[in-house]
């Protein structure tokens, strides 16, 4: 059985720096073989903002039914590795990524209010999260304010701090700049390979090998 990877390219700019970084990571994962990768660009699906109605605290589902959240949530729960890539806009996630994070409220309600399992017991504590970001500014603190939001995103889907990996590249602004970065591609590909090997161990899967 292949490792299931679910990836979100949240940037409104298709094939820009954050999505390039994501593609490098996914490329590294693919090299390990027997990996099923599904990537969605938020630009092409519709995830509306959370209404803050708290209905999910009682219903265990979101009352917004006419956008793409429902099947996205199912995929999040089924995935072994969840990846989110976002550009930094105004010191935060882009609004599109923030909408996705906010709509995870239904998982927060499930986990902390209704006290129901988010994933089946045999998969608890095994899943991995990855957050990738790029920023145009060269400030070393440019990612600091968004990290707590990223943690919320993963915590509610039962992925703990120790199981979240981060790769964040600053000082890349124009489209294509990430590809010229001295280490980004290598680091992203290596992270991808490492994570697949890690999740295989966690899931007790025999290494079938993609590179023999």
């Amino acid at each position: 059985m292949g490792v299931k990877v679910l990836a979100f390219a949240t940037s409104p700019r298709r094939h820009g720096n954050s999505e390039d970084l994501l593609d490098f990571l996914l490329g590294g994962m693919q090299e390990e073989g027997d990996v099923v990768i599904e990537k969605y660009a938020l630009d092409e699906i519709e995830i509306r903002p959370c209404r803050g109605c708290n209905a999910c605290e009682k219903l265990n589902r979101c009352i917004i039914e006419d956008d793409d959240l429902h099947w996205v949530l199912e995929k999040i729960i089924e995935a072994d590795i969840v990846v989110m890539a976002s550009p930094v806009f105004c010191m935060g996630l882009c609004a599109q990524a923030k909408a996705l994070v906010d709509r995870m409220q239904v998982l927060r309600s499930r986990k902390y209010v209704l006290r129901l399992p988010v994933v089946p017991p045999e998969r608890q504590g095994k899943r991995l999260g990855v957050f990738l970001a790029t920023a145009g500014q060269d400030w070393d603190y440019v990612f600091d304010a968004l990290i707590p939001t990223v943690k919320c995103f993963f915590h509610v889907m039962d992925i703990k701090n120790r199981d979240i990996s981060y790769l964040m590249i600053n000082n890349v602004d124009h489209k294509g700049e990430l590809r010229a970065h001295p280490t980004a591609q290598k680091d992203a590909e290596e992270l991808g390979r490492t994570l697949i090997r890690d999740i295989r161990k966690r899931l007790g899967q025999e290494h079938s090998g993609g590179r023999e």
Partner: protein
């Protein structure tokens, strides 16, 4: 001179905790003689920033929607602007973030096209406020919103020091803003004081 005060609510709830806190701030501002206006993002038709960077060259956003009059007229013409949001997932709502992301077009005038500069006097006479509520009580609950709010106000040449945050945490514990011992009164006083301060410096 009339002090113009603009409040912008980024809460999806109409007349919930955040909007009530904003309303208190605006009521205080009005009592001090300010000319008050409120925009509620959830009632507007808008799109999020497309990241196209066209504004870096033209200074104009390629999207024409309800955010444009706010960004090009109402915020720049105001003396006091209060951005209001509840904290969702340790930051502002995606609605308010959409608005702030779209202000990239104003940032571009200052930082890319360099057609706009703000003097020290301009910054001193334009005040930015953040009005926030949070269900939880964590000591750092509003901290991660502040850099985002700062980025917004920098683009418009508004000063936004630490004491221009009006925040109420623990809404879950208090059972809402009306259960909070001081938040609504504090917001009223802050709105009043903000207008009085600008009147004095005239």
């Amino acid at each position: 001179m009339t002090v113009r005060v603009l409040g912008i609510s980024g809460s999806p709830h109409r007349r919930g905790n955040t909007e009530q806190l904003l309303d208190s701030f605006l009521a205080g501002a009005e009592e001090a003689g300010g000319k008050v206006e409120k925009a509620v993002i959830s009632t507007l038709t808008y799109r999020s920033c497309q990241g196209c960077n066209a504004c870096h060259k033209t200074g104009v956003c390629v999207i024409d929607d309800d955010f444009i009059p706010l960004l090009t007229r109402k915020v720049p013409e105001a003396d006091i602007v209060a951005l209001a949001s509840p904290i969702y997932s340790m930051s502002i709502t995606s609605e308010l973030k959409s608005f702030i992301d779209r202000a990239h077009t104003i940032w571009a005038l200052k930082e890319k096209l360099k057609t706009v500069t703000y003097s020290k006097e301009h910054r001193a006479s334009h005040l930015g406020y953040f009005i926030g509520t949070a269900g939880m009580d964590r000591a750092d609950i509003f901290d991660y919103a502040k850099p985002v709010i700062t980025a917004f106000f920098n683009g418009f040449g508004f000063s936004y020091p630490e004491d221009q945050n009006i925040t109420a945490a623990g809404m879950d514990r208090y059972g809402g803003i009306r259960g909070h011992p001081s938040a609504l009164a504090d917001a009223f006083e802050a709105g009043k004081a903000a207008v009085e301060r600008l009147k004095k410096t005239e």
